[in-house]
Symmetry: C2
Subunit: 234 residues, 2 copies
DNA sequence: ATCTGTTGGATCGTACATTATTTCACATTT
DNA sequence: AAATGTGAAATAATGTACGATCCAACAGAT
């Protein structure tokens, strides 16, 4: 799979080839334009994307296979509702996988790779969390440098899929100041560990990084829920 | 062995509702009736399952999302070809996930759970690898006792999916005598570790178990390839 | 107020049209 | 004459339209 359409925000999308219906719906789910638990009527989507219903149905089935959509017989499809438990489940898997991927990267990293990582990190620090969405893209690119060339495509794809889901969520929440500091610190620690060829240290840092990221997202979700869905004044 | 497509679903005959097209195709892929890399023409499948093409197309899309089939634009679908690298990738992920699941099981296992595990193990030993397919079912049930109640549904589902793929492959190969011994020994070790509440030991045993299982499958695949490519419908 | 028949809407299955690809005969070239 | 390029027909995937079926909400009657 390896959908390498990572950094394009489908605005200049028409330049290459028209994205498939599947990709369009997927992007709309990840970006939040189609909200979690939103009903997905094939007729509506057909008019929305200017096609007939059959491509919509097939795209939804594929998305169901990827767990982005849930379907009940004769009752249609909905965007997968994402709750704290779901995020926790994904994070627990990533805490296992990402350190393993990182360890291998340590054994093949070159000077050029270190330079790339430092450049990506510099961009993150320069941007300094100004825009949550853009930060998400930069942060994804940073970690992608480490995982993308891994020989285990299955594991890398799994990371990517989880990453997109998490990005879709964290996009809606602010990043606390303490979390920002931790992110920057852990990234720097990670680069240092890789440079020092200390695979165990790098794995430990990544595990802590993922764990902390997940905890932060879950906390933000809890805050958002306590403050009530929409309906601001209290 | 020709055909016998009809009676192969006997074990689940109690199921009242007719299986969906998706489930039928999926079963045919896992059971090997649809061979790896086989071309999947919607028209053929439509006549095969006695329906029109649309349900077939949607089922294939879902299976694509689950990575059971691969599709190229305008060139149709094929059963995912499974090679050694693919198995290795899955095993590497399982080596990470299964120990973690097992550790948690240690903390919640009851006497009744131990009894169930021993009963499942007794069945495996009684059967003694007489029929590869049946052994696969028994072995799956053994491990399922450990993973099925885990709170992390995502991880458990991932295990189940990988398990089905591996079962589909190993079903075609014999189990070497040394591997058989190892399987039984490791299962007993695992039960003992759980009984002794030694989570680390249990995790270590499981990691070794998965690793060995994967290595064995990959070796068998290599043997099969050297002994000449399969006869088959192409 | 609960139950039942009706109605509206959406999903699901079938048939057909369109578009792309593969195949194979045939002509051209070396 | 063998090899290769061309093009038309066959084959199969993709898209569109429509009828059948199922479910949910609602109106009216007991």
């Amino acid at each position: 799979m390896t959908a390498t359409a990572a950094d394009d925000t489908n605005e200049f999308a028409a330049s290459e080839q028209p994205l498939s219906i599947y990709e369009l719906i997927r992007e709309d789910i990840i970006s939040g334009r189609l909200e979690p638990n939103a009903r997905l009527k094939v007729a509506d989507l057909a008019t929305r994307y200017g096609t007939s219903t059959n491509p919509i149905r097939e795209a939804l089935q594929q998305l169901r296979g990827e767990d982005f959509v849930v379907m009940e017989p004769n009752r249609g499809a909905r965007v997968r509702p994402i709750d704290e438990a779901f995020v926790r489940d994904i994070i627990e898997i990533e805490v296992l996988i990402e350190p393993a991927l990182t360890k291998w990267f340590c054994s093949i990293a070159t000077d050029a790779d270190i330079v790339d990582l430092e450049a990506a990190q510099a961009e993150i620090e320069a941007h300094n969390f100004a825009d949550p969405k853009h930060h998400g893209e930069l942060d994804t690119r940073f970690h992608q440098l480490i995982y993308d060339r891994h020989y285990n495509r299955h594991a890398a794809d799994l990371w990517w899929k989880h990453r997109e889901i998490l990005r879709a969520i964290s996009r809606r929440f602010p990043t606390s100041l303490s979390r920002r500091q931790a992110v920057l610190r852990e990234h720097r620690e990670l680069i240092e560990a890789i440079r020092a060829q200390d695979a165990d240290k790098a794995a430990e840092v990544v595990a802590r990084h993922v764990e902390g990221s997940g905890r932060h997202i879950i906390e933000q979700m809890g805050v958002a829920k306590r403050n009530g869905p929409r309906r601001g004044s209290a």
